[in-house]
């Protein structure tokens, strides 16, 4: 059974996550632990975008 979910709400949270990770990545420019970990987080966020955001973007 497909769960009842609000894709727009989920997408808003994904974009917030992305924005936060991007900011951290910028802050971490000279802080390897932050920089490299946020690269990985952003890769995972991209997977969330593939699964949810790309579809929401279609309207």
């Amino acid at each position: 059974m497909v769960p009842q979910i609000d894709l727009h709400e989920i997408n808003d949270k994904i974009q917030l996550l992305k924005k936060t990770a991007e900011e951290l990545n910028r802050i971490g420019e000279s802080f390897p632990a932050i920089a490299r970990n946020t690269v990985r987080i952003l890769a995972s966020v991209k997977m969330l975008e593939i699964n949810i955001s790309d579809l929401v973007e279609l309207g």
């Binding site: 497909v2 769960p3 690269v39 890769a43 995972s44 991209k46 593939i50 699964n51 790309d54 579809l55």
Partner: protein, 444 residues
Amino acid sequence: MPAKQKFWNPVLETLPPEKIKQLQLSKFKKIFRWTYENSKFHRRLYDNAGIKPEDIQSFKDIQRVPKVEKSMMRDIQRKDPFPYGEALCVPLDEVTIFRQTSGTTGQPVYQPDTWQDWEWWMECWSYILWAQGYRPQDRVFIPFGYNIFVAFWAGHYAAEKIGCEVIPGGVLDTKARILKIQELQATAMMGTPTYILGMAETARMKMDMDPAQLPISKITCAGECGASIPSTKKRLEEAWGAKVYDHAGATEIGAWSFECADQPGGMHVNEALFLVEIEDVETGEIIEAPGRRGKMVITALDRMAQPCVRFDSKDVIEWAAEPCSCGRTSRLIKGGVVGRADDITKVKGVLLAPSAIEEVVRSIEGLGDEYEVIVEKAGDADRIRLRVEVLPQAEDQCALIENELVDQLRLKTNLRYDIEICGCETLPRYEVKAKRFKDLREKK
């Protein structure tokens, strides 16, 4: 973790077909623009064809985008940015993962991936494994060499992503792997059909073990045709007492298709992540209707470091007529990948697909799993020899077996073969992909 949920992505996997098309077109436009703007190699190709990102408005426009063949990738690599050449779309320091193709068809092609691309590989495989029933409570054994080919690396990491416990069976030999499966009570496994059959043979013949008594309940096969050939699937499932599922992927493409737990006699294309077109081999026309075989042209819609845009894979497929009972709306390719366009060859004037021989050999109970086909010249004429192994319990039935082989092969391939029946364990064994078809004729 919602282990009871049937779909990895319950929204994408049940999208109406028209929505899938809309999504594919939208994503193709983006990946085409990315590739055009970042790959010098592709840009040259597209400029020469007079096609730009803004020209892509429909699927007909997509069909105008020039295809890329493996040989083209070989030609541009081993140059700067070294070693990938001008198809690389990201700075070299963003490349985290190196793999190369197996080299079966020529010089290996290098495949760079960023960490995001690698996550994407794992995501593609997560769709596959979830559809095949892998869940966090599974203990997955991976009997592969963990080498320079992508093979089951992403399957390993996807199993971890899903939440399974993953046992890397890399350095162990076949016997040690079987013992480890037994010791740790592994419930699932991945491998090529050739190797999985070989493991079963080793267990039976050299360890006095019945692999069907081991706790393996599901096996994912990939790397070569086999798990979608009914007689091979039957042998695999009977040998292991497990469900066997097919998957087709490639280093330069990604993990694009999978058989689901309903075993519908075909494989789903993951259409939210890949655009598959089937091209008529003779006319180049795109085949939309089910029931007509053609060559697959494929685009990975999210792969960034070295994009795969309208890659001419040479895989021969056809769309199935009916949707799958599992509820996924992504289309099925009937019978999986039925062969490769460059494997299909003319023998005595007749077109021959090697998979048809496998289906016959493995449907005969008294024969072992291994076989070998040799095509050579006898004077001006072609000669085709088939070498098979008879099982010890069927050694008194060689004449019957030979007759059945001759009849079935004539029916399925329209050819007459010189049959050579060998004893058990005579023919070559393969660790990974088999090379059973040997064409010794001079290439024109």
